[in-house]
């Protein structure tokens, strides 16, 4: 019996599926993304520990060349991760659309998270990407937030920009470490929260960045062959 036109589509789809014998919804495991994410995780923690010692000194000031270069290197690495991820995106899942639908369910758990899910930038390239690429692009945004907070709260008072030029004499640095509580709050647990058991080992800004990095690591581990 010949197939009716209305049955041709599903039959063809079934044959294609069976013929291909495999479907792909997501990008495969990418060792380079996994390696870069693990290294970034390491470097962010190392930066946090260094800042606990250096906040309030010339060395810990966001205008210091080494600190500017650190964020530039991170930005470059995350951009590369996003490019690698986008290159292998099979373009089946649009993460932004999925998250918008999840917002209703998230409302019952955490209204702030639900609101965040709704407010994602629909026009951004990442909005049309799979959830891995979307997550990596957003990791770059988290690092940008950390950099802004660092720049806003960790500049050493009394040091002007000239003190960080190539020829700036080191004696321009303050003789002792200045206390910058707003800067400390980025890189170390808050004493009041720690006393209540509400704080982990990291400062609140670093904690958020690390979780965004771990989300990328988690996905790569879930995709690792044999996992």
């Amino acid at each position: 019996m010949p197939l009716r036109p209305t049955r041709v589509g599903p039959a063809l789809l079934a044959m294609l599926l069976l013929g291909a014998c495999a479907v792909r919804f997501v990008s495969p495991y990418n060792e380079e993304i996994a390696r870069r994410a693990a290294r970034l995780h390491d470097e962010v923690i190392t930066f946090e520990f260094a800042m606990r010692r250096q906040a309030g000194t010339r060395q810990g000031d966001p205008r210091a060349e080494a600190n500017r270069e650190r964020f530039e290197a991170w930005r470059a690495s995350v951009d590369t991760m996003a490019a690698l991820s986008a290159a292998s995106d099979p373009r089946v899942v649009r993460c932004q659309e999925l998250l918008s639908r999840l917002a209703g369910a998230a409302e019952r758990i955490d209204p702030a998270v639900a609101q965040g899910l709704r407010e994602q930038d629909q026009a951004a390239d990442a909005a049309r990407a799979d959830c891995q690429t979307f997550g990596v692009v957003r990791l770059g945004q988290q690092l940008g937030r950390l950099e802004r907070l660092y720049d806003e709260h960790c500049r050493v008072p009394g040091l002007d920009d000239a003190a960080f030029g190539e020829d700036a004499p080191r004696r321009a640095a303050p003789a002792r470490k200045l206390r910058l509580p707003a800067c400390d709050a980025l890189f170390a647990p808050l004493p009041s929260a720690a006393a209540l058991g509400l704080s982990g080992p990291h400062g609140l800004a670093i904690d958020a960045v690390l979780r965004s990095i771990r989300a990328v690591i988690l996905v790569q581990e879930g995709k690792r062959p044999g996992s």
Binding site: V23, V93, C95, V113, L117, F134, A182, A215
Partner: protein, 107 residues
């Protein structure tokens, strides 16, 4: 083609993926959301204790919420990985059964 065997293969594949999805929710998403809830409370406690200014508390809160969204996005990606595994396992079960039934590699 043995219908029962094929059916059991498909059910086995579906159960495996279903367990995996449940496990991801239980072991990844729920602890992460709890973690975020704790950090949001920590920000509020720090603000009341005067350790954080109003503006900085808002900025840190934004970062926490954003990281929670990252975790939701990545859990969604892992759910797609699981769905892909489920469908591919089912396709393989159908392929193996069909090839076994005809006695040569048909598909």
């Amino acid at each position: 083609m043995n219908l029962d065997e094929l059916f059991q293969s498909l059910v086995g594949a579906a159960q495996g993926a279903g367990r995996s999805l449940f496990e991801r929710g239980r072991t990844v998403l729920v602890p992460e959301l709890r973690h975020v809830a704790e950090r949001i409370l920590a920000i509020e406690v720090g603000r009341r204790a005067g350790e954080l200014g109003e503006a900085q508390a808002k900025e840190l809160l934004t970062m926490q919420v954003e990281s929670a969204i990252d975790t939701v996005a990545m859990t969604t990606e892992l759910a797609a990985v699981d769905a892909e595994k489920l469908i591919n396992a089912a396709l393989k079960a159908v392929k193996d059964a069909a090839n076994a039934a005809v006695g040569f590699p048909l598909i």
